[in-house]
């Protein structure tokens, strides 16, 4: 690698946001025909770096060289022109436009000065097929697609632009193993076609499988660059977090059979065509996982418990007593004591422009106020506790929560619910886009809460997490519970097999087997 002329180089890039140094003389060089992984914990500056590269953010200092000559991009369009295409995690699809419109959005095919819809559709179909997402109808509106499908559209859109450098910022974080496998196939083919790929992910196994070259960032600087496979996972993680690292998952306690009624129990829950006769129970102190491919009804199930869905049939019992939960307001009330860590922290968990303080106490305002008036001393105490407990890294309580890095934002969402001391905690893929260090803290927290008597229902798209954290896992398929895995039965093989609704024996081991 050393001898190859880099296709693209960044030197001495710095970027500040007020007092925050997002990047500090960061360097990066990218070569054609290779996949370059970028690693770093939350807030290390990875996204900022690629935003600079993609023309979204103007750097304070530093220079960039493409093919050996200096360049600067005034806008994402300019970067596109130069062949740099970036898949941002979730910001760049236009929801009210169709999939096809989105795929060709930066440069639609034209006839007589107007957009040629036939050609547009052809391009879209090709791109979707290349991304392995031919099942997505090009006329469907993006807003009607689930997150995982949207990410596939993002990828198709990037491919349609015929990039020289393709950047994926946590582009797989909402994808399931099956989609990830497809995408990996595509990425590897692109590499062999001579593209340079930049890949940001917090999933170590993905990086191990995909990357040729890795660069680790910490606090806005690049701390190490090495050929993939030349360092052990533990070494990499230590580079990222700058400290020693061990045991990612806390040990699972041996649990005595429950004597009391389960804290949360569902019988024959059905809802439209998404939930089909689901029965389950969660005991106090238990962490129950929800597995399966994405979009099999896991999210709906959590929303059903939380009182969001209308026209639900079946029964829900809390502590053995039948309840009806008509709204989140009721779900969080003292009788039920439920909390939901929602899927998308930016639109469902937080009010980004509001301060960290206001976000933290938002769900607990009723408890913190008397006669409607907020007891600010009590609020401050509780917030201090939570910031301490979750080690939330923030420049202050009165800055907008949107200025925190993804991982810390997620911690705020969790802390905001812990302020109510919930007895039932529903988690909807809470570690999406979170670095290993933070993940570890979360796993430990989850176990701690369970040990304190909480009943936890935990949906994750990451099988490792389900294996490492859960006492039991229910695998959903097409809205129904297909299989229950208990204790040692929870293995990757079993999870994948039941997710695909096939027998374990027929399943090839390893997801990226097509490499």
């Amino acid at each position: 690698m050393d001898g190859a002329v880099p296709l693209f180089r960044m030197e001495g890039i710095s970027k500040r946001y007020g007092g925050v140094r997002a990047l500090e003389k960061a360097e990066l060089s990218v070569t054609s025909g290779s996949i370059h992984a970028i690693l770093g914990e939350n807030g290390a500056g990875k996204s900022t770096l690629i935003k600079v590269m993609a023309g979204v953010v103007a750097p304070d200092e530093g220079r960039m060289m493409l093919d050996g000559s200096e360049v600067s991009f005034a806008s994402p369009a300019a970067a596109n022109q130069a062949g740099i295409v970036c898949i941002f995690q979730e910001l760049s699809l236009v929801p009210e436009l169709s999939v096809a419109d989105n795929i060709v959005i930066s440069d639609p095919p034209k006839r007589f000065g107007m957009i040629d819809r036939k050609a547009q559709r052809r391009i879209a179909e090709e791109a979707l097929a290349r991304a392995g997402a031919a099942d997505i109808h090009p006329l469907a509106l993006v807003k009607d697609l689930p997150l995982s499908r949207r990410q596939m559209v993002e990828i198709a859109k990037a491919l349609a632009r015929k990039p020289r450098i393709l950047i994926l910022d946590e582009a797989t974080s909402a994808l399931t193993a099956a989609d990830v496998a497809k995408i990996f196939g595509v990425l590897k083919r692109l590499r062999s076609e001579g593209l340079a790929l930049l890949y940001i992910s917090h999933r170590m196994n993905e990086i191990a499988e995909l990357a040729d070259q890795c660069t680790v960032y910490r606090n806005g600087r690049n701390v190490a660059s090495y050929a993939a496979g030349s360092k052990s996972d533990n070494e990499v993680v230590e580079l990222m977090i700058g400290r020693e690292y061990s045991h990612i998952f806390p040990p699972k306690p041996v649990r005595a059979p429950a004597t009391a009624a389960p804290v949360l129990e569902a019988r024959k829950l059905s809802w439209t065509d998404r939930l089909d006769n689901i029965s389950l129970s969660v005991d106090a102190g238990e962490v129950v996982g929800l597995g399966g491919l994405d979009g099999q009804g896991q999210r709906e199930l959590l929303l059903a418990f939380f009182g969001v869905l209308r026209g639900l049939s079946g029964q829900i019992f809390i502590d053995g007593k039948l309840v009806t939960i008509a709204s989140p307001a009721k779900a969080r009330g003292d009788r039920i004591g439920m909390a939901l860590i929602p899927e998308d922290r930016k639109t469902e968990g937080l009010m980004l422009p509001m301060t960290v303080r206001e976000n933290l106490s938002f769900a607990a305002l009723d408890r913190l106020s008397r006669a409607g008036i907020i007891d600010r001393a009590a609020e401050q105490r509780l917030i201090d506790d939570m910031v301490g407990l979750l080690a939330i890294k923030t420049a202050g309580l009165d800055i907008p929560v949107g200025a925190l890095s993804g991982g810390n934002q997620q911690k705020v969402v969790i802390a905001k619910w812990l302020m109510r001391q919930p007895r039932i905690i529903l988690l909807n893929d809470p570690t999406r886009g979170i670095d290993v260090g933070t993940k570890q803290e979360l796993y430990q927290l989850m176990r701690k809460l369970a040990d304190q008597g909480a009943a936890i229902l935990f949906y994750s798209t990451d099988y490792d997490e389900l294996i490492g954290c859960c006492d039991r896992v229910l695998v959903l398929y097409d809205g129904a519970v297909k299989r229950e895995l208990v204790g040692a039965e929870i293995t990757e093989r079993a999870l994948i097999a039941s997710a695909l609704n096939i027998h374990g024996e027929e399943m090839p081991v390893g997801q990226g087997a097509d490499a």
Binding site: V56, E358, L365, G372, I373
Partner: protein, 328 residues
Amino acid sequence: MSETTIGGIAGRMPKFIRRADPAVLTAFACIVLLLFVGSLYSRSFLSPEYLLQQLKVASFLGVIATGMMLVILLGQIDLSVPWSVAAGAMMACAAAAYGPVGMALAIPFGIFCGVLIGVVNGIGVAYLRIPSMIITLATNAVAQGLMVVYTGGFSPQDSATPAMRYLATGFAIPGVPNAVVIWALIGAAMVFVLTRTGFGRTVYGIGNRERAAYLSGIDTRRVVLIAFAVSGGLSAFGGVLLAGYASKAAQSMGDAYLLPSIAAVVLGGTSILGGRGSYLGTVAGVILITLLQSILSVMQMPEAGRQIIYGVVIVAMLLLYGRAPASR
């Protein structure tokens, strides 16, 4: 490092200034500038009587803009202001026709009518999820229709009661018109609600992201409903005060308050998209608009020139401090 340099100067300033939005400070600076420009034309623009009178007149707009601000903070808008104002004034005067009981209940009844309009708006926006811009337009039309029917049919009684007169033009505190006191009280209550109560936090939360507020277990629809009801009530109360000021109610009395109330709130730095803004800003916006209208009126500017200057000044002031941050 920035801590120490700023700390030196800021440390000596009162806390509320240190925390104030730059937009609000600029708005107040614009007020001073406006008065200065006015005083070049005539010394009387700086006379205490004139200023006090402006404050009095501003308080009607102030009361109405308070309700408007609450709704705008939610990311909504209330276009039913004109006829909420008129209905409040007319119904209060109407109630006064019904003997001593009517006299006593006149003001609450007027406000109640405004609240009713607000409740219809609130139900439409919160429960039927009709965009506020259109449902409030429709309720405005309905309120107008009701008032026309009422006026034509019932030998309308439209003189303000002594109590209304007193509220709008009397002096409980020597030198300070009651209307100003009332505005100050309502404003103080609003500041308290917005900053110290759960309701206020929720309003900001919904304005920023209603989905997240809902998933936090807030009954967001109730909050929206209440906010619209309050807005309707405050509009009607503004109408009651206006009726007291003019000593009578008239159908068209609210027309002149819709666009100025929106402009005042936004000039005060509140985001029309919701979720951001402070009441102090609205106070500044209200005074700005009132002064601007008054100065232009007294300067004998023909209507055409007045409209042009009014528009240009608003744009200029917003360009000075109301710009959204650059995207990069």
